[in-house]
């Protein structure tokens, strides 16, 4: 082993096993070279010094106040996170509740409107070709003849469009509740109201279709 080789390998001499060829060669070189022996001694001294310096702080650790501070920070942080999470949950819950409430209200409103305006829906065609001679407020039970315009009429259950050709329009005043007898949905709260209805009466004397003229509004 040369001095240069010793310088490279000699630092780790102690970490090599006794029977290791590099260890044996280094030992032989140390016996032959006093300069490398001196260098090795210095290394040994330095190693011992480093060990001693290391031993001084061997058991050193962060003081307890660091742990206390960190735990405090941990608690604060996770408490804040929990509060934030709860706020987010509460926000979403409120939003969901608001959506559900709105939906229920809308459905109810639709339902109410649907019931209330069923007759109106039947009467949706706005252009009622009324006979101009029709009085505004006929007496109860009085019948009048209106224009025979089947296009505006709604077929009653069981009637066919072909049956309307020779039908006659008869305007009657009746209670709204009576419409249910003709198979129509009626708002029960307004069942007692008096309304005018144009009936399309067929040859057999049975109503085939009806409409609610605007004059009943």
């Amino acid at each position: 082993m040369t001095c240069e080789e010793f310088e490279l390998a000699g630092l780790d001499l102690e970490s090599l096993r006794q029977e290791d060829p590099a260890h044996i060669a280094a030992r032989e070189h140390l016996q032959l070279c006093p300069q490398c022996a001196a260098l090795h001694e210095n290394w040994q001294t330095l190693r011992a010094d480093l060990h001693a310096v290391g031993a001084e702080t061997q058991d050193a650790g962060a003081p307890p106040r660091v742990e206390m501070h960190l735990r405090q920070e941990f608690r604060t942080r996770h408490k804040t996170m929990r509060a934030k999470r709860a706020a987010v949950y509460a926000g979403w819950t409120l939003a969901a509740a608001a959506v559900v409430l709105t939906a229920v209200s809308w459905v109810n409103w639709r339902h109410e409107t649907g019931k209330g305006s069923t007759p109106s829906a039947v009467n949706s065609p706005q252009d009622v070709n009324m006979n101009k001679t029709t009085p505004a407020g006929p007496e109860l039970g009085e019948t009048i003849v209106a224009a025979n315009d089947a296009g505006e009429f709604t077929l009653l259950p069981g009637s066919l469009p072909g049956m309307l050709e020779d039908a006659t329009v008869v305007r009657v005043q009746m209670q709204r509740g009576a419409l249910s007898a003709l198979g129509l949905t009626v708002n029960e709260e307004r069942a007692a109201d008096l309304i005018q209805v144009d009936l399309l009466v067929g040859d057999d004397g049975q109503p085939k279709a009806l409409r609610l003229p605007q004059t009943t509004e």
Binding site: C3, E7, L8, L11, D12, Q35, A38, L39, N42, W43, T45, L46, R47, D49, L50, H51, A52, V53, G54, A55, E56, T57, Q58, D59, A60, G61, A62, P63, V66, E67, H69, L70, R71, E73, F74, R75, R77, H78, M81, R82
Partner: protein
């Protein structure tokens, strides 16, 4: 064993991220001492070491997801953060005396008292160690890391390489160079022949 320890660290970190304070405390107690020693030996300042360790674990509290178990052990991850903090500290305050801080902490006196030396020998040994500490603190950072981990903490080359995330050969050469520089600084080569490796 190592894998088990890593798994346990993972589990603890996951629990800690969910707000389990016990898990966090266990993690802290498991890792704080070597990190503190590394920071102390690298910076030579107990206050800086304390601040650095606190900072490292604050990172773990704030951003636990930064640790990826696929990339290595939690210990290496924490060492990485500690190294960065130490380097930042060294950039701000280049050099400070280690021995005064250690004496203030009491650890220096404890080690000295354990040896049966005469007062004169104590003084000599104390002076010698002071010189060594000062010389270590004057080493360039990369050599200092190697000397601190392998010389003072007495880790194997493989462990040091894992913690510093570099090849074993790099650690070996840095340590070799660091020791040579230390010897030069301590003027131990005064009577020994000048060697290229030591004086480079």
């Amino acid at each position: 064993m190592h894998i088990e320890a890593q798994e346990r660290d993972d589990v603890l970190l996951r629990r800690s991220a969910r707000g389990d304070e016990e898990a966090f405390t266990e993690l802290y107690r498991r890792h704080q001492a070597p990190l503190y020693r590394f920071a102390l030996r690298m910076s030579g300042n107990v206050w800086a070491a304390e601040e650095i360790v606190q900072d490292v674990f604050m990172t773990l509290i704030r951003e636990p997801k930064k640790f990826d178990p696929e990339r290595g052990a939690l210990r290496s991850f924490l060492y990485g953060i500690t190294r960065n903090r130490v380097l930042k500290h060294l950039e701000r305050t280049p050099r400070e005396s280690l021995h005064e801080q250690i004496d203030e902490d009491g650890t220096g006196q404890r080690a000295m008292a354990s040896e049966s030396l005469t007062p004169a020998e104590w003084a000599e040994v104390g002076e010698r160690r002071e010189q060594v500490r000062a010389a270590v603190l004057k080493l360039p950072v990369e050599f200092r890391e190697a000397v601190v981990l392998c010389g003072l903490e007495e880790l194997s080359y493989e462990e040091a390489a894992r913690l510093l995330d570099c090849p074993v050969g790099t650690i070996r050469s840095r340590l070799h160079r660091g020791r040579a520089l230390l010897l030069a600084k301590l003027e131990m080569l005064r009577d020994a022949p000048k060697r290229a490796g030591a004086s480079r």
